[in-house]
């Protein structure tokens, strides 16, 4: 590598291959864990500041270091423009606290969606303008179509296709559709020197 600084691109590319747009709003970055190769597009908001204020009893008793991860994201995730990741919150033992939001690998979040789930599995496609309610649990290989409202506390089992307000199971992911969830190709198409999508 030459010593000359490369021109400022639209994205910041980290050592682990994350591509974070300069125009993305990441609050509380120290509480946001990125697994690598994750794309965060402009105008994305991740609320890492909403950390858990009350530790689980087992943790506080053992005296371990408080786990302050608010949002953890796996590898090859794609957060489209204008989406928002927000840890869910609720009353716990009489006091309000946020809980961490965990997202697996190969998770696509469409433009303008708000995700407040407790867990999002791997290979999940969340469409555009979707609202995922607080403490929803989305398992692996789930497709949420555009405009869906997933009610709070809903559990979406694997291989479901859901849509509607509130979300309703409308189909199952076919056996041949598993590969369509892979986001390795789309990862290459964004960044400071994007490659064209393979035809």
């Amino acid at each position: 590598m030459s010593s000359r600084r490369p021109p400022r691109g639209e994205y910041i590319e980290t050592d682990t291959g994350n591509k974070v747009a300069r125009k993305a709003t990441l609050v509380g970055t120290q509480n946001i864990m990125l697994g690598g190769k994750t794309v965060i597009q402009p105008e994305v908001m991740i609320r890492g500041d909403l950390i858990r204020t009350i530790q689980a009893s087992s943790q506080s008793a053992s005296g371990a270091a408080p786990n302050s991860t608010a949002v953890s994201i796996g590898r090859y995730c794609f957060l489209s423009r204008g989406c928002c990741l927000r840890p869910p919150g609720r009353l716990y033992k009489g006091a309000f606290t946020y809980m961490p939001l965990r997202i697996g690998d190969h998770v696509f979040v469409g433009a303008g969606s708000v995700v407040q789930a407790a867990t999002v599995g791997s290979h999940v496609h969340i469409g555009a303008k979707v609202a995922v309610g607080e403490f929803a649990i989305i398992k692996d290989y789930v497709r949420i179509l555009d405009g869906t409202v997933v009610p709070p506390n809903m559990v979406i089992p694997s291989f479901s296709i859901v849509a509607g307000q509130p979300a309703r199971l409308i189909g199952e992911v076919p056996e041949g559709g598993h590969e369509a969830f892979e986001l390795r190709d789309i990862y290459k198409t964004v960044g400071n020197n994007p490659q064209p999508a393979p035809s």
């Binding site: 009353l91 033992k93 290979h123 309610g133 692996d140 076919p174 056996e175 041949g176 035809s199």
Partner: protein, 592 residues
Amino acid sequence: MAAPTPYTYIQCPCSDVSTLSHPSDPNSPTGTEADEDDRTFDPRAPRSNYSLYPLEYLLYCEDCHQIRCPRCVAEEIVTYYCPNCLFEVPSSNLKSEGNRCTRSCFQCPVCIGPLAVTSVETKPDPRLLAPDNIAAPHSGPYALTCSYCHWSSTEVGIQFEKPNSIHAQLAKLRNGGTTRLTAKERKERRRDPAHRSATTEGEESGEQEDLDLETQFANLKAFYQNQLADPNSADSGLAALGDLGFSSPTSLSRIMSIYTGGSLQDKKAKSRVGAMREALEPDEGLQVANLDESAAIEQLQSEGHDGTACTAQRVDQPPHLGEEHLHGRGRFTSELRPIPYLLRTKRSKRCPICRHIISKPEAKVQTTRFRIRLVAGSYIPSIAIRPLSLSNGGGSASGAAAVPGALLDPLRPTHYLLTFKNPIFETIKVTLGAPSKTPGRFASKVTVLCPDFEIDANTDVWDEALKEGGGGGGGGGERDRERERRRRKREEGSQSNNNHNQLEVGKIWERGRNWVSIVVEVVPASLRVEAGDGPLREDEDVLEIPMFVRVEWEGEAGGDEVGSVPTRDRDTREKRELAYWCVLGLGRIRQS
């Protein structure tokens, strides 16, 4: 409603009329054979709706070497599980408990959102939701609440004493909170004369005892069984029906007389029919219908249409649990009960012909792996469609016409790039056939510029990289090297083609490691409706091209093939071929 254009659907051969009518008939008359060869697949035919699938939905049977669709595979249930708590339900439970979750998983009857157990008194009690609230004192009663539409089970008067085993508690409750008798209790109550007299006397409504649905049915059943068994009320024929079924000759003659219209009926039997009487008392199961619907009318007036339950909501309701009587039940949303979650299944799929399993998921609910998953996408080439604009001979496959979802201009030649990707590890030879005019009222002209081409094998990406880096390496056999040389040569040919960038008949547009792009020229039809013809029907403006795809390759001969010699590896390679119809949906034609 516009489909994401462009798209490719593949026809499963199971619905092909020619294979259905005479499967593998070698000596069929030649006249019909030629007829079938000429027949083109019409994607607009009403039947086509049921046979066209996107590639992802198709499976492939390795033994029959044929495509299998969701309609023709035989499914077998591997696991039942609740979609909410993700607990597996053993099939023995299924027989006794039904196909719904018997834990505490419920859906909102109004909006089908998930219901959560919350304490009624202190508005949603935080302690309840916590996972470790063993020490915390519980404060009942509890109710099921929907966090989406804020429905609460208190609306139908249902509250629970405990926050767990809601299903068992709910089974004992009617709407309004009155207890529903279990079968055992009902039996005891019927036997107990003191209770019976007490209720009949205590009924302030007067002469009629109020029977709930189950009690009424039990009483009626007991009464009719008594009637049939009682030797005094009826003689031998009827008694035999109740006791022994249909084994005695008298009962048989009675049944015969029913069907033969009285010709076998003797006078004796006639007198017997009248011997049975109907229920007259509540003890015998008589329940006078409550025809007074003024309350329902009043409610309808006050609540209006919004207060009534829609058909979908009523269908979701568990039958005969909420109300005491059959009359006037389930009309209003205020009478709807929580719905226990319907169980979901994991299913394995078998080939309908050879019964081999072609898809089998792991039995555990939480795992997403498959033991067997033979999807068509790893056996037949995928077809991707891309509009190709040749503005001022530039040739780059982009431009104004490439906007997805744009309408096609009628009578203007448009070019599309079809990219075939070979998923198998053999070189395949593809032959395409498309009718020059699409079927239907508005025939668009179609020209496949290169209907015959070869696609190189889907070699391992690493093999490729090693070969190119190490200059041949030496790992690949002679055959591979020869193929590589051939590929290079072809690539050069296509490159020169690219430079010229003109549409040449019989030339491949572009070629890659395991893919080939060809050009299809389409002249969309004009959608002008002639005088006297009907108006434009729904989706008649969609331009769909039926295309027959024939794939040939040399595969390893399987051991089960007749006449194959497994010892000589090189010679056991055999020609394979697969042919099917597919539909290329290009988009909608602009209406002039």
